[in-house]
């Protein structure tokens, strides 16, 4: 009997006060919360999350296409300014004519331009009192510089120019009054955006750190389909990727992940983007590349939302491309031109930290061990990759299966 008491006491003593022994698991609370919510209406956002992440994916693809379309606008700009230069003289003329007559339009235009422009304008107008030749005076072109930025007014200019001589003629005496008016109107206009210092202090997030926090480890298998292009995604080709990722939750809401993804990235580029030492007799029109590589990412993700089984996070990081296979096919404009048809890179290189990753991830736990995820992502070039030194960019959506490694080990 005594021995039995001893045995009982061993267990009683050892097991009675287990405070702190079993470590807290967030999964358990999630289950608890689900139990408490049963019967209550679940918040709508849960149902919307898959939709939201779908929208996020579309936005990423859209912005990817939009940001990296060819710079058509930039090429057109110099032409516009050239046209402006031609019109500059007319502008100055116009200013002279317009100021005295209908004051509204011209005064605003001076505000848009520089404040200095008022003084040459005054000077010019004064000059017209005495001498009409001042229209072509060099002082006027400085004021025209301010005007040039307002491109919308040109139609009016053209119209008004026809009546210009008349206008000038009857309005010379009224010149000074509207211009001084415009001087006053300039000062109260505060064009610069004012930073709002007060607002930044409002949203301070309290982060509680608990000592009992254990890092969370997870293993994911990802498969994705994406669009690849050089400089833009206009001429994009569809690539496929399969990868394995290991992730560790380091702080409460941050997760670091790394792994390897096998990627097949075909892309098409104009020959202008293709860099090579080889001298083509006739340059190809375009190059079709076919690359296979290992993508080694190092990413950090921040969890924006986590309730019960749903997680939503955004992240960034860098990728290293280890080329396994590089092959270029050259397309010549006409069938008659001769030249190399393709180039196989004999020793594909490695490009460390050459790609910036941006991704958004929606993950849903199926049970405590397994979850599924959907991840729209973008890969932007930090440096040139490949034997052809192209700025390769990618946008796509990955789907994945995640194992929570923590639930396999007992605390």
């Amino acid at each position: 009997m005594e021995k039995d008491k001893d045995l009982d006491n061993i267990f009683k003593g050892g097991l009675e006060n287990p405070d702190g022994h079993p470590a807290y698991r967030e999964d358990d609370w999630d289950a608890m919360e689900a139990m408490l919510d049963k019967g209550k209406k679940r918040p709508g956002i849960i149902y919307w999350l898959p939709v939201l992440s779908g929208v996020a994916a579309l936005l990423l693809v859209f912005f990817g296409l939009w940001f990296f379309r060819p710079d058509v606008i930039h090429h057109q700009k110099p032409q516009q300014t050239a046209a402006n230069d031609q019109k500059a003289k007319h502008d100055s003329q116009y200013q002279l004519q317009k100021n005295p007559g209908k004051s509204g339009g011209s005064i605003q235009r001076q505000v848009v331009g520089k404040q200095d422009t008022t003084s040459p304008a005054n000077f010019a107008n004064n000059a017209t009192n005495t001498n009409y030749r001042s229209k072509n005076k060099p002082t006027l072109t400085t004021s025209a510089d301010g005007v040039r930025r307002d491109t919308t007014g040109y139609n009016q200019i053209a119209k008004n120019r026809q009546t210009s001589s008349n206008l000038v003629a009857f309005s010379q005496s009224a010149v000074i009054a509207p211009v001084t008016l415009s001087d006053k109107s300039i000062s109260p206009v505060n064009v610069l955006p004012q930073p709002n210092y007060g607002a930044s202090s409002v949203n301070r997030i309290k982060v509680k750190t608990s000592a009992a926090y254990r890092p969370q480890y997870a293993l994911s298998v990802l498969a994705s389909s994406d669009l690849n292009g050089v400089n833009s995604l206009q001429q994009s080709k569809v690539g496929t990727n399969v990868g394995l990722l290991f992730s560790a939750g380091v702080f409460k809401k941050f997760t670091i992940s790394t792994g390897a993804t096998y990627s097949a990235k075909p892309y098409m580029t104009d020959f202008a983007e293709y860099h090579t030492d080889y001298q083509f007799q006739t340059n190809p029109v375009s190059v079709q590349a076919n690359c296979r590589m290992l993508d080694i990412p190092l990413n950090i993700d921040y969890q924006l939302y986590h309730k019960r089984r749903n997680k939503f996070s955004i992240g960034t990081g860098v990728s290293s491309y280890l080329m396994l296979h590089e092959n270029y096919d050259f397309n010549y404009g006409s069938a008659t031109t001769t030249g190399p048809a393709y180039y196989n890179v004999p020793h594909p290189d490695k490009y460390f930290f050459s790609i910036l990753n941006l991704q958004a991830t929606y993950e849903r736990q199926i049970n405590s061990k397994v979850g599924i995820s959907m991840q729209p992502y973008m890969k932007l070039p930090l440096s040139n990759v490949g034997a052809s030194q192209v700025r390769l960019q990618t946008t796509g959506v990955a789907v994945g299966l995640t194992w929570n490694l923590n639930s396999l080990t007992k605390p």
Binding site: L7, L15, E16, P18, H21, W29, A31, L36, S368
Partner: protein, 213 residues
């Protein structure tokens, strides 16, 4: 946790405030899990039972009497929930024969220093019926009559289950000792390696023999 803070949390739970519920849950997670782990076969089961317990706590928090210690109230709910769970799982409980364990000598049980994890693992290895009675009698301190009422069994069954539980636990402790001794004196290592050596030798011999014939 201070008395005042605890009362604030309970006040929050009365209003079904989710944040307070979570804080209370976290604060007493270790304590509650410690109880449920003893009654359950593994951690997942324990977590399930514990959550059922906390569900009772959150839905019946108004029945808590501020004059009494909260921890005792919570502990009692956890034990009762564990018993409920046991009752609902009675089918899969029982029956492991203890013939082998019958003749284990009562060695000196007193000054042993087993770790929490080891003790817990042993208790969890017990069949559910034995485990429940052992917990209630040895740790919670119920009498056989009370246990009989709680589990809807008679006092005799309770006694017999307790006896069997103790026998099994003793067996486990001695096995653990034997393992520890082996490790300590290296005797087991030598013995094992000889067995392995012989085994390999035998295979080689047989294989060779085959090639000769």
């Amino acid at each position: 946790m201070g008395e005042e803070e605890l009362h604030q949390l309970i006040g929050g739970c009365l209003k079904q405030d989710r944040k307070c519920q979570k804080m209370l849950y976290k604060a007493f997670y270790g304590f509650s899990m410690g109880i449920c782990l003893r009654y359950a076969g593994n951690r997942d089961e324990a977590a399930e039972v514990m959550n059922q317990g906390f569900f009772k706590v959150f839905t019946k928090i108004e029945s808590y009497d501020y004059g009494k210690p909260f921890k005792a109230w919570l502990g009692k709910i956890m034990v009762n929930t564990s018993i409920d769970y046991y009752r609902s799982n009675l089918k899969m409980a029982y029956a492991e024969d203890l013939e082998k364990a019958e003749h284990i000598s009562d060695g000196d049980m007193a000054d042993r220093n087993l770790r929490y994890e080891d003790l817990l693992a042993m208790v969890q290895q017990l069949p559910q019926a034995y485990r429940t009675v052992f917990n209630l009698f040895a740790i919670e301190g119920y009498t056989h009559e009370e246990i009989g009422e709680l589990l809807h069994i008679n006092a005799g069954t309770s006694k017999s289950n307790l006896h069997k539980a103790r026998q099994k636990l003793k067996q486990m402790i001695f096995e653990a000792d034997a393992m520890a001794d082996k490790r300590k004196y290296n005797g087991g290592m030598d013995f094992n390696s000889i067995v392995a050596f012989n085994g390999i030798d035998m295979n080689g011999f047989l294989f060779n023999k085959n090639t000769w014939e």
